[in-house]
Point group: C2
Chain length 407, copies 2
């Protein structure tokens, strides 16, 4: 008998029929003798409907009231799922975030969980109940309703699993696991049976939408065994997200992430002296523009070139900021390019394997793809290339590193 | 400066536009220097939508989960109304029933209010906030969400007004006050500027849908000044519901209530001995059939006739029950009639005025309307007549008692 926390996203509970399917899945786990806590999102479309209603009244909705409003979405789902479970003859009981109680800070619309009072849930489980908890929401110390921000239901699931010391936290979604890369671009992409937390973090931050990054961090911190599965398939083991220590044989490369969301800016002829990076990026940060990759080459002739990437939507804004900065620091020229793509190899194995970067660069060179920027971390190598080469780069790397073959 | 509790029903907050109108009305009261607590229902149609969703999943929805579900309706409204108030530059803050906290018993779907913790509301009012409270809902001592049953938002409004010792509780609805009778039947029907609680109780229980009866009882018990107004008119004083002592000159008759909802059953030739009424009505109560009027004539020849009325929907069921009873008590015959109407004169003044009943009966006789049953209370006289005469009876009585003229 295991204690399992299962999280079902908005698509998985998007209709009465799907809610009944979720109830059936939970019933199968109960029949096997497991204890189940189900964490659910709002029915798909509901959160957007509520936000649209709010904006009709207040174009910039008050954050406290917005949380009161949108938290009703999950509250509807917990009641309906509990009813579906009872209709199948199971004992079930629902809890809102406030009822659990999931205590958060008071940062409305993007609150962080501080603690979870798991006593009621544990007592219910011991009495044979399936416990159904509203994801995405909590309550601050003054009793105000808070929400964790988009994707926060994943975080609720992981946090509950940590508090209850659950044997596994299962995240049900509309994909059946984590792939080596997007199967729409590389048909040979292979589903991974396991992936490490660190790799998952890199993949999540690089735009793989399977799991919300905060929930992965949370799972890593509290050593929660996390599994990604499809709610639309009866069978399947999904992808288990493991701690590195668990993995005897580490694959060198686990996956390839990519996106076209960024734009590149370069300040040419920057005087090469201490503090210059801060001088350039300070005004960018002041303008609330997030920076991703940052590259500075060694200088020559007392000047250097400084490049960084921002989200494509903020390209023009960033260019404007740099024009002001240019005069202040006496740089020669500002150039920018918003037709770039970022492609990244991710894998814990590359720590101990030399030559991965070299093989990556050679593979791209063989396809005549010019590399514009390079950035590396312990378990990731990212390159910026012209955006039209993105799919070609991903396919070539997938084949070169034999990701279609089980490791 | 007064403290006013305003209750807005589902129709009054049925759309974004109407919610904005409510905000404007509240703003006018604030501009006059009043403190305002707004109690709101779910947007019209929302509660029924949620119940339908529940029944798709569980034909007899679990009461606890049903309350979790339907309580989201008012939660949506409080957030939207607070936003609308802020958008007009007012300070506003919303509270669910649990947040207030409105403590109830644990009779899910029909809970009763036990106490209200008004401290937070009072502090907010003193800081210049409009406080927006979800009607219809509360929380039991274990933190379970409860609802007060249909129409419960009126009760929330009155209970809050009592707890806060408000100067007035205003019930906004789609009619502009309480009338001497239904204007659709008697065009000369006149809006009353005042009516006593006792009269209102009789009118409410007789089918006037203006106020929920429990809220009127509550207001009477805690001496809350209650006023019924239209949310669709900018002006108008509505109808003030007063304590009898407040009224210097009591009108003899305040209004005429009527309905076609009942059916009449008569047990003929009942042995005239103690306990016989209980013997007849016991099985009726056991079958969960509510009884309204009960009439027993004096006996002769050792037998008597026993009549009572039930809701028309339960006529057949009641007839079946009586067939069994008939044999047990040795009655002669059971007869029934579901084509009846009840017409009632209501007025605190009739206590001290002889001759009201006589005038009523003569008025009906002049119209050739036969009276089938009569029942009286201190402030009410009800008669049962053939249902086709109902409108005629109401019009004749309205004219005879000169209800179209201000008293």
């Amino acid at each position: 008998m295991a204690l399992i926390v299962q999280k079902y996203g908005g698509t998985s509970v998007g209709s009465v029929e799907r809610i009944k399917n979720v109830a059936q899945r939970i019933a199968r786990f109960r029949a096997q003798g497991h204890q189940v806590v189900a964490v659910v999102s709002a029915m798909s479309g509901e959160t957007n409907r509520l936000i649209a209603l709010a904006k009709e009244i207040q174009p910039q909705p008050d954050p406290r009231e917005l949380d009161v409003l949108v938290s009703t979405g999950e509250q509807v789902t917990i009641a309906l799922l509990s009813m579906a479970l009872m209709e199948m003859g199971l004992k079930a009981r629902s809890y809102t975030g406030a009822q659990v109680r999931i205590l958060t800070d008071n940062a409305f619309t993007k609150a962080r969980i501080l603690s979870i009072d798991e006593d009621k849930i544990r007592a219910d489980l011991d009495s044979g109940y399936v416990v159904v908890v509203a994801g995405f929401q909590g309550v601050d110390e003054h009793g105000n309703i808070t929400t964790l921000g988009r994707g926060g239901s994943d975080t609720t699931g992981v946090a509950l699993a940590a508090a209850l010391k659950a044997d596994e936290c299962q995240i049900y979604t509309d994909v059946d696991g984590v792939y080596t890369t997007d199967p729409r671009i590389v048909p040979e992409a292979r589903k991974l049976t396991t992936i490490t937390f660190e790799e998952m973090l890199e993949l999540a931050s690089l735009g793989s939408k399977v799991l919300q990054i905060r929930s992965v961090e949370f799972a890593g911190k509290y050593k929660v065994k996390l599994r990604v599965l499809s709610s639309f398939e009866e069978e399947g083991e999904g992808t288990l997200i493991t701690f590195e220590e668990d993995t005897m044989e580490k694959p060198i490369i686990s996956g390839i992430a990519f996106n076209r969301d960024e734009a590149k800016l370069t300040v040419l002829g920057v005087p090469d002296r201490p503090g210059i990076a801060a001088h350039i990026l300070g005004p960018i940060a002041d303008a609330n523009i997030d920076v991703d990759m940052i590259v500075q080459n060694v200088g020559h002739d007392g000047t250097t070139d400084f490049s960084f990437t921002v989200h494509r939507n903020e390209f023009t804004k960033a260019l404007d900021v740099l024009q002001t900065v240019k005069a202040e620091i006496g740089a020669r020229e500002i150039i920018g390019d918003n037709r770039i793509a970022k492609v990244s190899l991710v894998g814990v194995g590359m720590r101990n394997h030399a030559g991965i970067a070299g093989k990556m660069f050679k593979t791209l060179a063989d396809e005549n793809i010019n590399i514009q920027m390079i950035s590396t971390s312990e378990i990731k190598i990212s390159v910026v290339v012209e955006d039209k080469y993105m799919e070609l780069a991903v396919r070539a790397l997938h084949q070169a590193f034999e990701l279609d073959k089980a490791n």
